[in-house]
Amino acid sequence: MKKVLMKGNEAIAEGALTAGCIAFFGYPITPSSEIAEYMARKFPLLGGTFVQAESELAAISMVYGGASTGFRVMTATSGPGISLKSEGISFLAEAELPCLIVNISRGGPGLGGIQPAQSDYWQATRGGGHGDFQIIVLAPSSVQEMLDFAMEAFDLADKYRIPVMVMAEGTLGQMMEPVIPREKVTQFIGKPWAINGCKDRKPNIVNTLHLSPEFLEERNHVLGDKYKVIKANEQRAETYWTEDADLVVVAFGLMSRIVKKAVMEVRKRGHKVGLIRPITLWPFPVEHIKKAAETAKMFLSVEISMGQMVDDVRLAVNGKAPVEFYGRIGMIPSPEEIADQIIKLAEREGF
């Protein structure tokens, strides 16, 4: 198909529509609002549902209701909105309702700012809400991936009956790049658990209350077993020049593209540096890091935060090599700045 120029937020909305999403429930928040605006323009023409909810709490609850009917539904917001939606995300995870949740992230804590950030990493990968649960988190690094990951998110959500988050820095939501549109999805898996009226079958119940302690434990094991399968099957990352790397930089999202430029520059200057770009933030690509840790002498996590993903890098490296961190918040590190950091480390360690 012919390439079209699209804004990241529009690409994610277009990807969702292409994947057969029929309803959007959301609340305006910068820098994600274009997703809601795009859906508000499209759904009346397509025959889908757009509701501007009274709050983030109501929006995620509408998603809960919508997802329980078995249709593909979504919401989009930014970090402060995810904080409020965390109640509903916990319910969605336990009720095993598939849906797409988008976080076009900005800096915090509190109201923070509207500049791009990656400081919602813990919130996204540590559940955010109450109870033992995980959601799949995909981190696109281009406008094309905003569209593609929205589609993949719905497939993963249906496959595992799990909410899936696409998390991207505000920059990715706001910037424009050429995008190849995809074929419309028309095949969907059956959802015999959906609540849509009990004609010719026994009533279905969507519920997260388990008063029996034995059954509550059983339910947590059911979820835990599912998470193990996802961890085994769905870890995704891109690796560059890690085979001979003394130093492996780890970065996700748009940040990884900036880091890639820095790594290429540093390699030109003779230092053996590689890059791992996690695509799934949960499940974290432990296997990719583990493999690199067999030969690498040092890791460096570069993030637009005070250092969050670095925890997961350390867990995956498991003491095999030192793990350093470099990050900015509110500001985005430049390729030159990162290259300087890498060279400083390389010279200090004698790589």
């Binding site: 429930f25 009274e54 709490l57 509408m62 279905n204």
Partner: protein, 247 residues
């Protein structure tokens, strides 16, 4: 032999967990009878709240969903917008609807969501053990208003039916009571009217039902009915507050 009374098809054979003298059971039965009589069981989706009726999914014999505290009207919105020909109702208590879920109920009404709300007002948080509700009466003793509800500290009880009747999106709003057989009959008629309002696509509908909580009021079942009549009805007048003309 002729059958003169039996369990509605819309109720399961499960035994209610409600306390002796609690009127939730009567209200469950009325809802079930109305859905049976309108021949909508296989087309109905019910949403239960957090509160004493949290387990209503065990009692209603059709598709059910259990909501987060106060969010039932938003969840109902999500379902109804996607499946507009289904009958979607929420069943909520006073803490759920008039406190933590105030934004959700007001906006569902303002948007004119074509859903029906069964609002059970017993002036107290039942399941958590008798704390003050937004509908607790002045002077009423609860575990969090142990010296009686005082205006200076907690303001006034909220009249939800009157409040929601103001919204243009509300098509049918009433307040009923199940304190005696005559009122039980009137409540049933009102529930049916509310469900019909929804199915005709006229807008938002709610029946507020004054109900007893003998356990947390510290009264026997008969005394609780008397207390409701003498204290709740004067503050919460019965009747229809909004009936959209097309009805």
């Amino acid at each position: 032999m002729k059958i003169v009374a039996q369990r509605p098809e819309s109720l399961t054979p499960a035994k209610f967990h409600y306390c002796p003298g609690c009127t939730h059971g009567i209200i469950h039965r009325l809802v079930a009878e109305c859905i049976d009589e309108l021949n909508m069981r296989e087309n109905t989706i019910g949403i239960c709240p957090v509160g004493c009726s949290v387990l209503a999914y065990d009692y209603f014999n059709f598709d059910m969903l259990e909501a987060a505290h106060g969010r039932a009207p938003a969840i109902a919105t999500g379902i109804k917008r996607i499946l507009p020909d289904r009958c979607v109702f929420t069943y909520q208590g006073d803490g759920d609807l008039a406190s933590i879920g105030m934004a959700e109920i007001v906006h569902a009404s303002a948007r004119g969501e074509k859903i029906t709300v069964i609002f059970v007002n017993n002036a107290v948080y039942g399941m958590t053990g008798g704390q003050m509700a937004p509908t607790t009466l002045l002077g009423q003793v609860t575990t969090t208003s142990p010296y009686g509800r005082k205006v200076e500290e907690t303001g006034y009880p909220i009249r939800m039916a009157e409040l929601l009747a103001i919204n243009e999106g509300s098509a049918y709003i009433s307040r009923m009571s199940v304190n005696n057989p005559a009122n039980v009959t009137k409540t049933k008629k009102s529930i049916k009217k509310a469900l019909q309002t929804q199915m005709k696509g006229l807008g938002f509908s709610m029946v507020e039902i004054l109900s007893t909580c003998p356990t947390n009021w510290g009264l026997g079942p008969m005394d609780a009915l008397k207390w409701l009549e003498e204290n709740m009805i004067p503050y919460y007048p019965l009747g229809e507050f909004k009936v959209k003309e097309a009805l």
